[in-house]
């Protein structure tokens, strides 16, 4: 096994220096805010994702949690990729990330869509770790729905 394919520098960097960590109140009081707390019962990883949106644009995707490098780096990447995006576009990215993670290493990610998310390509080859990477993304989906933003049409097969 190539450990480096799992723990890419990008992932370790996001883990050690997370972007946008911490749950935030909506800057615009008119925004609807939704929050979801997800737990991975096998390892005890936890993440809370909060979405603030006017229904069209995701003004903030904030998060807090504790867990392994993969789950925490994934939350950081989620924040970076989706904050400020239009809802439709955000769900395209969401779908692309889910497709990458359920691809068992056979999906080539598009850097234009997934940005730093491409670093998780290696994780998809470790079935035991796919759930770690998906934890914040599944919490995001619920939080977005609670913030009144339409849900992603794709279910992941984990």
């Amino acid at each position: 096994m190539q450990l480096e394919s799992l723990y890419q520098e990008i992932i370790l960097d996001h883990y050690k220096h997370p972007h946008g960590r911490g749950l935030r109140d909506a800057a615009d009081p008119a925004d609807q805010v939704g929050e979801a707390h997800h737990v991975n019962p096998t390892c005890g990883d936890e993440v809370t994702v909060r979405v603030a949106s006017d229904g069209e644009t995701l003004h903030d995707v904030s998060y807090d949690g504790m867990g392994c490098s993969i789950s925490q780096a994934s939350a950081s990447v989620l924040h970076e990729l989706l904050t400020g995006r239009g809802a439709a576009e955000a769900f395209e990215v969401h779908e692309a990330f889910l497709a990458l993670m359920s691809g068992r290493g056979q999906v080539t990610p598009d850097e234009d869509v997934l940005g730093d998310g491409v670093a998780f390509e290696g994780v998809a080859r470790y079935p035991a770790r796919v759930k770690c990477a998906l934890l914040p993304w599944m919490a995001f989906k619920d939080a977005a729905a609670r913030a009144g933003v339409g849900a992603s049409p794709t279910e992941v097969k984990a």
């Binding site: 096994m1 450990l3 799992l6 723990y7 370790l12 096998t42 390892c43 005890g44 990883d45 936890e46 504790m66 867990g67 392994c68 490098s69 993969i70 470790y126 770790r129 770690c132």
Partner: protein
């Protein structure tokens, strides 16, 4: 250098039985494997143990030569299968020094064994004529501890919900020992059953049970010991232990999965109502009602895991041929070595006893703030197999303020070289997550 002679009459270290670990390892085909280009270093025997050729051969031989259902056929194969199945029961009874073969009930695993006792309480509580020792209601108390595996927590929580009884527990000290300071209050005249782990699957602590047993007897309660982690690793004598029930599982003691044991005192098993109903557990059946077989059959409804039971008998033969005292001593030495070696790793914190006394060869730890999943992943890349997570003992993690731990556990085939590989692997983890 001066050597201190141990005075005659004191235990002599060279009197301790020993065995050739390399020869033992040769019995386990899986130990030849390579993992990610490295020799397998298996430090997860508390999770499940490997199986020697002697057990694998018996399992295959049973299906190849003696396969038939048990306890219901007059034909030759049926007789052979029944003899093998009941022969395994006798081997297991002898292994734990059970006064009677009929005190050994085959189950699927320890979890099922505990559930049988819990549901026997539940069923007895619904019958006014049932043995009062098994009748539970509001005001009655069940006592467990904070260091239990979930399998010795959830069945009692469910039983308390069904009967209105109260669940109480022993706390755990900072050193990972059972806190017995509240014993007389915790175990009192309202207590109906105390169900405790003998050796913790996460902390490695081996609980000294004599004070608790004395108190249980004083108040007239029952005592169940979860011996899932002790029966595989040390000599267990149910007469010495003086419990009312013990449970253990085959796959942690060189046997197959799908087979476990409930041992109970004859009079208690006889007083317990059945739990699962079906074939083999009856005396007679009419459309109006049924009467039930005596134990152990009463608790073995349906076709049992026959080949698994037979192979567990072979596992017991194997362990006996090496000697449980010798295995216990081997693991004691390994534990001392591992605790010392892990103590040299910067930032490593051990959960549970840090001295090789009153503990077994299962060691949980944290490495700085690196998440156990990451520790386990890096170790796996070096062929080192450890368990990471909450080990089905989440209250212990909560007690020590961590979401998960990394756990290394030894068995009769574990070597000091494997401990060295673990320590080297932890250095690699520190480099990756520096």
């Amino acid at each position: 250098m001066t050597t201190i002679a141990i005075p005659p009459g004191m235990p002599q270290y060279d009197e301790v039985p020993r065995y050739d670990v390399a020869a033992v390892r040769a019995d386990f085909p899986i130990l030849d494997r390579e993992i990610n280009g490295h020799p397998l270093v298996y430090l997860d025997s508390a999770n499940t143990s490997h199986k020697p050729r002697q057990v694998l051969d018996v399992l295959a031989e049973h299906y190849a030569r003696h396969n038939a259902n048990v306890s219901r056929s007059v034909h030759t194969l049926g007789t052979e299968a029944t003899e093998a199945y009941e022969g395994a029961r006798a081997k297991i009874a002898a292994f734990i020094n059970a006064p009677s073969v009929d005190e050994v009930v085959f189950t699927k695993n320890s979890t099922e064994a505990i559930n049988i006792v819990a549901y026997a309480f539940s069923n007895a509580s619904l019958r006014p004529d049932a043995d009062p020792r098994f009748r539970l209601g509001p005001g009655d108390e069940i006592v467990i501890s904070e260091m239990e595996h979930h399998s010795n927590i959830v069945p009692w929580q469910l039983l308390a919900e069904r009967t209105g009884a109260t669940l109480r527990w022993f706390p755990v000290t900072d050193h990972g020992r059972l806190d017995e300071s509240g014993l007389t209050d915790l175990v009192n005249e309202r207590t109906k059953i105390v169900s405790l782990v003998h050796m913790s699957n996460i902390l490695g602590t081996v609980n000294a049970t004599s004070r608790i047993t004395a108190r249980v007897r004083e108040v007239g309660a029952l005592l169940l010991l979860d011996c899932s982690q002790s029966v595989p690793h040390m000599p267990i004598d149910v007469v010495d232990l003086d419990a009312d029930f013990i449970v253990f599982t085959g796959h942690k003691m060189c046997g197959p999965t799908g087979i476990g044991v409930l041992w109970g005192r004859t009079d208690l098993l006889a007083a317990m109502p059945p739990v699962l109903g079906g074939g083999s557990m009856i005396e007679t059946v009419t459309m109006g009602g049924s009467t039930y077989a005596a134990p152990p059959a009463r608790f073995e409804a349906g076709t049992p895991p026959i080949a698994e039971a037979v192979a567990l008998g072979a596992a017991v033969d194997y362990l006996t041929s090496i000697g449980m005292r010798a295995i216990q001593w081997h693991e004691k030495q390994l534990t001392a070595y591992a605790l010392d070696a892990l103590g040299t790793v910067p930032g490593l914190r051990i959960f549970g006893p840090e001295v090789p006394v009153g503990r077994g060869g299962t060691i949980s730890f944290a490495l700085g703030d690196v998440h156990p999943h990451d520790v386990g992943q890096v170790l796996d890349s070096l062929g080192v197999q450890v368990r990471v997570g909450h080990h089905c003992a989440r209250p212990v993690c909560t007690r020590f303020g961590v979401p998960a731990t990394t756990r290394a556990s030894c068995y009769l085939y574990t070597t000091t070289e494997e401990i060295d590989a673990l320590v080297a692997g932890l250095e690699r983890v520190r480099k990756v997550f520096r």
